[in-house]
């Protein structure tokens, strides 16, 4: 028998932990299945919900009362006529009728959904209640029909299109290619989702190799292995990082497929694809982030004694890792050297920029490198701290863990 090297020992431990982890249904669900299923499901639900809302809105019958002010009866009649003119009840089930305003408050009781007040002179006033969807819908239908009617009247009087009066006729034209637009839409969400999924992917394995080992009484078995402790704990952290990376990769695949197929269904002006060059640019950012998250979560979980306690603690602290990733969703945030050094924030903004970039020249390579190095360095520090934390002998979880985990902590106290 010869002594096995530390690195090889860590690989053996990591391989064993991964085999063990991926035999667990919960880990497989959160790491592999959920990222693949979640995005198509999310997009599909959004599409269906949008179609449903649109369908419900167009089919919804509303009532609009037109009330004549003093000496404005004729004008009120002409408003009702204008509103009714050319209306197709199958697509616009709105009832327009003259009234005296005594039927009740707008959108309350027997009152109409909206009320149009017609004065003798001056602009009409459309009353609606912004806290009621029916009332908003009624006001929008009135506005649309009156807008058309006003333009028609003007053109009738002019005997020419209204546009002819405008000194500079213009229209807006979006020059963004569908791919660019798709990249922009996805880049807002992708970094946040990647980091959230990396955190979730590390969550169960981190608890499993620490508190889970204690609960199953396999920690002692693990510690009996004739290899350096650093190899054991390093291997365990590596297995958590691989599980987290797998979750992130599946997340990327799931999101790309879903966005590619379903964004196009929303609009023909939007499409998305993630070329291999961008995947390769994202890879170091993702790996550095995953290493940091795996080490940090494993270090935290190593202070707990039971799975329940571990879940409770990490459930509370995982927000600390996910929230900074929201930086990528905020407008106006640029990747500077200073920002790049901030954990999670730097990598999430860098990921956003990679997804949006048309070419390498669009990227701030210096800050991107800083964000990678910063995360890798923090990951190494977190790994060292995690190994140190895991080596400590404890009789029970520390008081701060018991306080943070509350009932779960008490239940888990051994």
């Amino acid at each position: 028998m010869s002594r096995i090297g530390t690195f090889r020992a860590a690989l053996v431990v990591a391989a064993k932990e991964l085999r063990s982890a991926f035999r667990d249904r919960q880990t497989r669900t959160y790491t592999l299945l959920m990222p693949l299923v979640m995005y198509p499901a999310m997009f599909w639900i959004a599409l269906q919900a949008s179609a449903l809302v649109r369908g419900l809105e167009s089919a919804r019958a509303v009532r609009v009362e037109v009330v004549a002010g003093a000496g404005a009866d004729a004008r009120a009649h002409s408003v009702v006529e204008a509103l009714e003119q050319g209306r197709d009840p199958s697509t616009d089930p709105t009832e327009y009728r003259l009234g005296d305003g005594s039927s009740g408050a707008v959108a309350r009781g027997d009152g109409p959904d909206a009320r149009v007040r017609v004065p003798g002179d001056g602009p009409l006033e459309v009353e609606y209640d912004a806290s009621r969807t029916g009332s908003i819908l009624a006001s929008e239908r009135v506005a649309a029909r009156l807008g058309d009617a006003v333009e028609t009247r003007r053109e009738e009087r002019l005997g020419a299109p209204v546009a002819a009066l405008a000194p500079w006729e213009f229209e807006r034209r979006d020059v963004a290619a569908p791919e660019q637009l798709g990249a922009f839409v996805v880049s807002v969400m992708l970094p946040l989702m990647l980091i959230a999924m990396a955190t979730m992917g590390a969550f169960f394995p981190a608890v499993d190799v620490t508190a889970g080992e204690k609960e199953r009484r396999t920690q002692e078995t693990t510690l009996l292995a004739p290899v350096p402790r650093a190899a054991i704990f390093g291997g365990q952290i590596a297995s958590v990082a691989v599980a987290s990376a797998a979750a992130t990769a599946m997340n990327l695949v799931g999101m790309t497929i879903a966005a590619n197929h379903l964004l196009g269904m929303l609009s023909s002006d939007v499409s998305f694809s993630l070329p291999i060059s961008k995947v390769l640019m994202l890879a170091p950012l993702v790996f550095a982030t995953v290493l940091f998250l795996a080490a940090a979560l494993t270090a935290m979980a190593s202070f707990t004694d039971t799975f329940k306690q571990g879940q409770s603690l990490l459930g509370a602290v995982q927000t600390l890792f996910i929230l900074p990733a929201m930086a990528s969703t905020l407008p106006g945030i640029e990747l500077t050297y200073g920002l790049a050094a901030v954990p999670i924030v730097g990598t999430s903004v860098a990921m956003r920029d990679v997804v949006r970039a048309d070419s390498l020249s669009d990227l701030a390579l210096g800050p991107m490198l800083v964000s990678i190095l910063s995360m890798a360095l923090l990951g190494a520090v977190a790994t060292a701290l995690a190994v140190r934390a895991m080596q400590r002998e404890r009789t029970t979880a520390p008081r701060w863990v018991l306080k943070l985990t509350g009932r779960a902590g008490k239940a888990g106290k051994s």
């Binding site: 063990s20 035999r23 002692e220 292995a225 029970t396």
Partner: protein, 258 residues
């Protein structure tokens, strides 16, 4: 490895262990323990719960670090080269769990690889152990699906996979039924081959009486007496091991109150 059949397999001098307990404060589990176990003998550490048996054995197995004192296993200091100590011992306790999602062969392969066994030699050794401990019928089942008796057999196979000369067993029969206990006792006896040392802890007097060449009586973190059963009887004037044990404890209590 040892080159003499009667050399010291385990030596501890002034071994102390204190824990910082968040509620109870400092707990002294061992108070300067001096112990010597030889190759070729089965040594029983006899004491009640909380006496310091498990702490002693876990320090020897390097899963705990001593607060003070020295512990040497097969010539290697546990604090100087714990990795080498773990290579030379086999450790098993009633609470040593098996990885639930690995099967018996995978468990043995994992530990064999970490022990540095060559692939061919490892596979041969696994087959040998599967045969000798009758693991075959359930070798492909995950450990979480095994009965406690089957788990025990896999655990013993794990502990002796690298054929260690020093076997440390912490209350190995706790939680086992009659058949499991009997198998464990047979196993311990099978290790009495004049070459190896088996150090095991128990609070079951009959086990100590039946198996041990020498017995150490431990109480309150101190070793109160060591010797063969006859030597302990002569020292205390008691006939039965239970009375021997009680006599030692009585003397220790008197000493404390004095």
């Amino acid at each position: 490895m040892n080159d003499t059949t009667h050399g010291a397999a385990v030596v501890t001098r002034g071994l102390e262990k204190s824990y910082a307990h968040p509620v109870e404060g400092e707990v002294r589990a061992l108070r300067g323990l001096d112990l010597e176990c030889r190759f070729g003998e089965i040594f029983g550490l006899l004491g009640p719960n909380g006496a310091g048996k498990s702490t002693t054995l876990r320090i020897l197995a390097t899963t705990l670090r001593p607060t003070r004192g020295t512990a040497v296993v097969d010539g290697v200091d546990v604090t100087v080269d714990p990795q080498e100590v773990r290579r030379r011992i086999g450790f098993l306790s009633a609470t040593t769990g098996l990885y639930p999602r690995l099967d018996a062969r995978e468990t043995l392969r994992y530990f064999g690889t970490l022990h540095g066994l060559e692939k061919r030699a490892l596979e041969d050794r696994i087959e040998e152990l599967v045969e000798s401990f009758s693991i075959g019928p359930f070798a492909k089942q995950r450990c979480e699906q095994l009965s406690s008796g089957q788990k025990q057999r896999v655990n013993i196979a794990r502990a002796v996979l690298h054929d260690p000369d020093v076997l440390i067993l912490d209350e190995p029969t706790t939680g086992l039924d009659i058949l499991g206990t009997s198998e464990m006792i047979d196993f311990i006896q099978s290790r009495r081959d004049g070459r190896r040392c088996v150090l095991f802890s128990t609070h079951v007097l009959s086990e100590a009486e039946r198996l041990c060449d020498r017995i150490g009586i431990i109480y309150g973190g101190d070793l109160l007496g060591v010797g063969t059963l006859d030597e302990l009887r002569a020292e205390t004037g008691a006939q039965w091991l239970e009375d021997v044990f009680r006599e030692y404890v009585r003397r220790a209590r008197e000493k404390t109150t004095a």
